[in-house]
Symmetry: C2
Subunit: 246 residues, 2 copies
């Protein structure tokens, strides 16, 4: 038995999310079927982050075990061949120790949220960014974001369906940067609550357009009440950007 | 009569190109139909660059004349409303002098060519980059590109169907830069021959993968013979990036 670590890019648009579900195609299922097609083995592919429907990944990390001996480069090539034409691409595969676990060994997850801040409709980026027509002040958004960094009870930014044991998390970094007509919100933490990044962005957008001051974010955080925060930003703009291990 | 200058973004994938043609939908036609839908006026929309089938624009420039009085912001909004769901977006509209001509007054055109240089298949970027699996050395490509800058007879990089009077053009700038897993080739000139940028990229790719030395580009240029150069790079990676006026 050999354990492999995969790094995977995908367009989340056509999927119900990372995780296998009864109601539609998931990325996990597509990968598991690709493994079975070339090896005949039925495996579970464990992902570091269970991205939601429509959420993308630039570098999801997953692991799987294979009984059959196979070179890691050939594994990558075989998976990509059998994944076609799904918009899922295995960027790398490598052998890892038997105790490596993509989800439980991850020490940091990094997300990127892309807002296209312009009046005109989307072309190339339809489904891949959140289009916000109202002008956003990224400096105000950053000032709001600064209130969120650190060890907090994030109940105000937690989805009702969140399965985490506790709403307390440590947010390592939250930056807001303008890149041409886009605003990029980047978040780093060991782990996140369900919808946490999208809920951050939904509230920071209100600050950016001047509906609230940056300090409103501190009030929302202190309230520990989801109804006090802004709406959840759409999945289109969210990317699992990197996963770190020791 | 008022003349308007438009700046337009489009995904060239579903179109036969900028220019009206009998065999399919063009960007020019989509714009002209959008104008007619909201104003009832039949106009010609003149573009600065006649991009080919599958070629994209981040900032194509065009002009049109309207008899009806309309504010330029409302023109932009009306065009975008009537262009839906085509992947064409008017980024800005402004009134210009009656002698402004998008094509003939342009003093510089800038193109970007995106190569995704990796082994794994495309996801998000399918149709928007050229996927090249063989590792490319961007410094070698730049050394090759340096031979092309300046005033030359570019017959070796000119499509057979090119309608320009002369194969002699002045290439102001040609840069090759690695941006993560992509290689960006940027070209600037007053005007280009048909397929010139794609033909540059097709040859520079051969230099990047080591099939020829950088000086081979000088030989190809000197030959003034299209058959000596590399194949034409696909349209997917090409973007009309900007058009400059005095």
């Amino acid at each position: 038995m050999t354990r492999f670590k995969l790094t995977i890019e995908y367009d989340g648009g056509p999927f119900v999310g990372w995780q296998r579900q009864a109601n539609g195609a998931s990325i996990q299922q597509a990968l598991e079927e690709a493994v079975e097609k070339f090896s005949g083995e039925q495996v579970v592919v464990y992902g570091a982050g269970r991205t939601d429907a429509g959420v993308h990944a630039r570098a999801q990390v997953a692991h799987l075990d294979l009984a059959r001996e196979i070179d890691s480069f050939r594994l990558m090539e075989a998976l990509n061949a059998h994944l076609r034409p799904a918009p899922i691409s295995v960027l790398s595969a490598m052998e890892v120790a038997d105790d490596f676990h993509a989800r439980f060994a991850a020490t940091e997850r990094r997300y990127l949220y892309r807002i296209k801040n312009r009046r005109s409709p989307l072309t190339f980026d339809a489904g891949r960014v959140w289009l916000v027509g109202a002008p956003l002040a990224e400096d105000r958004m950053q000032a709001g974001a600064d209130h969120l960094v650190g060890h907090h009870d994030f109940s105000s930014f937690r989805a009702a369906e969140c399965q985490a044991d506790s709403p307390v998390k440590t947010l390592k970094k939250l930056t807001v940067e303008r890149v041409g007509s886009e605003i990029h919100v980047r978040a780093r933490a060991r782990s996140f609550l369900h919808h946490q990044v999208r809920n951050f962005v939904g509230s920071l957008k209100l600050v950016g357009q001047g509906k609230h001051g940056p300090d409103w974010i501190a009030e929302v955080l202190a309230a520990k009440d989801r109804t006090k925060a802004g709406p959840t930003a759409p999945p289109d703009g969210l990317y699992l950007d990197a996963v770190r291990y020791e």
